[in-house]
């Protein structure tokens, strides 16, 4: 029993001293990481700015005004009304065929 108390009385102070040293070292380390955190915050902000900048560039490049201008440069022209051909919707099959005794013939 006495032996056990003796061991505990040696181990506990050693453990306490070790923990204190670890705490001091870790706290010190953490306290000096503020600069790193600041740098990371700045990097995040810079990345956000770049993202916003690119977003505006994409929006600008894909705007209808830009596309219109680019199309004109590439030689596209607006069609005149006569150049626009509208395809009539397809008629249901039964309206477009004539029944024959042995076959179905498409009407011209």
């Amino acid at each position: 029993m006495n032996k056990l108390f003796r061991i505990i009385s040696i181990v506990l102070p050693c453990l306490a001293v070790t923990l204190i040293v670890v705490q001091v070292v870790v706290s010190n380390e953490l306290a000096t990481m503020g600069k790193s955190m600041g740098r990371l915050d700045l990097a995040v902000n810079d990345a956000r700015d770049v993202h916003a900048e690119l977003e505006t560039e994409v929006a600008s490049a894909s705007s209808l005004m830009t596309l219109h201008d680019r199309a004109l440069i590439l030689g596209f022209r607006e069609p005149t009304p006569s150049q626009i051909v509208a395809l009539s919707p397809e008629l249901p099959v039964a309206f477009g065929v004539r029944a024959q005794p042995s076959s179905l013939t498409l009407l011209p």
Partner: protein, 560 residues
């Protein structure tokens, strides 16, 4: 005795000193507590404002119309500047400032911090940074970016500053949805060391910003561009002072396009006349003229007082007291049906209809269509001209109202009323915003809202046919796209000036929808004081049909 006085004196001194001490402590701990706490906190903590990002605005397909772009407030700290004049010369040349004025501000000993320019774009900021000038600083101050430049300016509104210099939306969508778009600023409070560097294991409080909500509109960017281009061409061709076009989806009340010219550029709004800021489609009133006839005709048919085949005698002007009501061209056709009344746009015929309706029915119909009260469109600048009180309507007022004179409406009220005819008599509340997207990307739809069933579906169908006939056989038939069934009506209203109508100044308009059987859109075109011709059939109607042609192609609507 002497020792008693000495003891009393000493006691009194102690009491007074104690009282002074208590008073001083009371001053520090109670009266100045807040100030001292703030001072202490400022020595131990950094407080950073984290501005919320203003929400964007996109069209119906999610294409951006308004987004944010990085920009900066550029400032100078006088105490860090070595040579004020050299500094002023260099900075002023980049920011287009007056170097002398800047130098005098920087030399003022009472100013330690001088703002140089707001919303400086990244390119200029980089140029300034490359000057490597001590005392020159930047702070983020995002600004609005418009990929389509000034498109839909009066619909969108703009972002300016309020009295505290904080961004605020004005007019249009930016004004109406300002609270939703702006969000709520956040804050970061960090404990710092003696050098001002944040302590990672120190006290920390973070209140994240709530970014503004984004808006998806009913607007179709391509249609808006078509409308603005055609309107600009139309104004030039017909020599009009001002023009506007509004296109609604009759089934939902969604605003597909809305444009007025002249307009302004929201990027440089301060350089334009303030009168251009408000949107005339919702904020200005006009007399609708003959376009109003369709609504009164529908009211009379809905009450079973007339039918399209009812005939009337159009043999000459109608006398009302000392006044005569004539047709627009002073030509008379004898016995005509009410369908022909719309085809000929006969004022005399409409007086016949108004008299069939009677005063009570006429006023009830006008109010039923929503005239006299705002439409509740989600735009900041909406206003509505008031109708005259019921007891002040004279016989001449009833007669002239039947053909749209002597009554003022806004374009949005007019197009909404006609949209109800295109939508089976169901009148919808007009809306610009289709969905709100919150900060967690949750989509909150704004459901279409029916306001009233203004006429029966059968009446709407009958009047639609009459309007198709008015287009096919009316004055504007020469401009109509071939093969399409378009329901519409021209209008030419004289402008009241100082209590009388100016015979030479008119507002030409055309309202209609297409395809007539399954309307995809309803559109109102108005041109103020066109100089090539004063008639709606020769100005607004061709413009309406030009825009319609483009829309048929864009939406792939084939001829019927």
């Amino acid at each position: 005795m002497a020792s008693y006085w000495r003891a009393s004196f000493l006691f009194t001194v102690f009491v007074v000193a104690f009282a002074l001490l208590v008073m001083r402590l009371f001053y520090w701990q109670v009266i100045s507590a807040d100030r001292l706490q703030k001072q202490a906190a400022s020595q131990h903590f950094i407080e950073l404002n984290v501005p919320a990002i203003r929400g964007g605005i996109a069209d119906k397909d999610g294409n951006p119309i308004v987004i944010n772009q990085p920009a900066f407030l550029s400032y100078a700290e006088s105490r860090l500047i070595k040579d004020v004049h050299a500094f002023s010369e260099k900075v002023a040349s980049v920011l287009s400032l007056d170097p002398k004025e800047l130098a005098s501000q920087l030399s003022d000993p009472n100013r330690v911090w001088v703002p140089l320019s707001h919303k400086v774009e990244t390119a200029k900021m980089t140029e300034l940074k490359n000057l490597n000038l001590p005392g020159l600083g930047f702070e983020k101050e995002p600004k609005r970016f418009y990929p389509e430049a000034s498109t839909a300016a009066q619909l969108l509104g703009f972002v300016g500053s309020d009295v505290n210099g904080v961004d605020k939306g004005y007019f249009g969508i930016e004004g109406y949805y300002d609270r939703q778009l702006r969000g709520t600023d956040g804050m970061i409070r960090l404990e710092k060391d003696a050098q001002g560097v944040p302590l990672l294991i120190g006290e920390e409080e973070r209140l994240p910003p709530q970014d503004g909500r984004s808006l998806n509109l009913w607007l179709d960017k391509a249609v808006q561009q078509i409308v603005e281009r055609r309107l600009s061409e139309g104004i030039e061709k017909y020599g009009a002072k001002q023009g506007s076009v509004v296109i609604l989806d009759p089934a939902t009340g969604g605003v597909i396009a809305m444009a007025s010219l002249p307009s302004y550029d929201p990027r440089n709004f301060s350089e334009y006349d303030k009168s251009l800021y408000s949107n005339p489609i919702v904020a200005s009133s006009y007399e609708p003229g003959s376009t109003f006839k369709t609504l009164i005709m529908a009211a009379a048919i809905d009450r079973h007082l007339v039918t399209p085949n009812t005939t009337m005698d159009e043999s000459g002007p109608v006398q009302v007291g000392p006044d005569y009501i004539r047709t627009w061209n002073n030509q008379y056709h004898g016995q005509i049906t009410l369908t022909q009344v719309l085809e000929y746009s006969s004022n005399v015929g409409m007086v016949f209809v108004a008299r069939k309706l009677g005063k009570d029915n006429l006023l009830s119909a006008i109010k039923g269509y929503g005239f006299g009260v705002p439409t509740n469109i989600d735009l900041e600048d909406e206003s509505s001209p008031e109708l005259r009180p019921d007891n002040q309507w004279k016989e001449i007022d009833e007669d002239t109202a039947s053909f749209g004179q002597g009554i003022a409406v806004t374009p949005i009220q007019m197009v909404r009323a006609v949209a109800s005819l295109a939508n089976g008599g169901r009148m919808m509340e007009p809306h610009v915003v289709k969905e709100i997207i919150d900060e967690n990307d949750k989509v909150i739809p704004i459901k279409p809202k029916m306001v009233a069933q203004v006429v029966s579906p059968e009446t709407a169908r009958i009047v639609t046919e009459m309007m198709v006939s008015a287009v096919d056989n009316g004055e504007a038939k020469f401009a109509k796209p071939k093969g399409y069934r378009i329901a519409g009506k021209t209008g030419t209203a004289q402008i009241p000036v100082a209590g009388h109508y100016d015979a030479t100044k008119t507002i030409a308009s055309f309202v209609g929808f297409a395809p007539a059987d399954h309307p995809k859109f309803v559109m109102l075109v108005t041109l103020r004081e066109p100089s090539s011709s004063q008639w709606g059939s020769e100005t607004a109607a061709p413009l309406f049909f030009n825009i319609s042609r483009d829309l048929f192609t864009y939406w792939g609507i084939p001829p019927q």
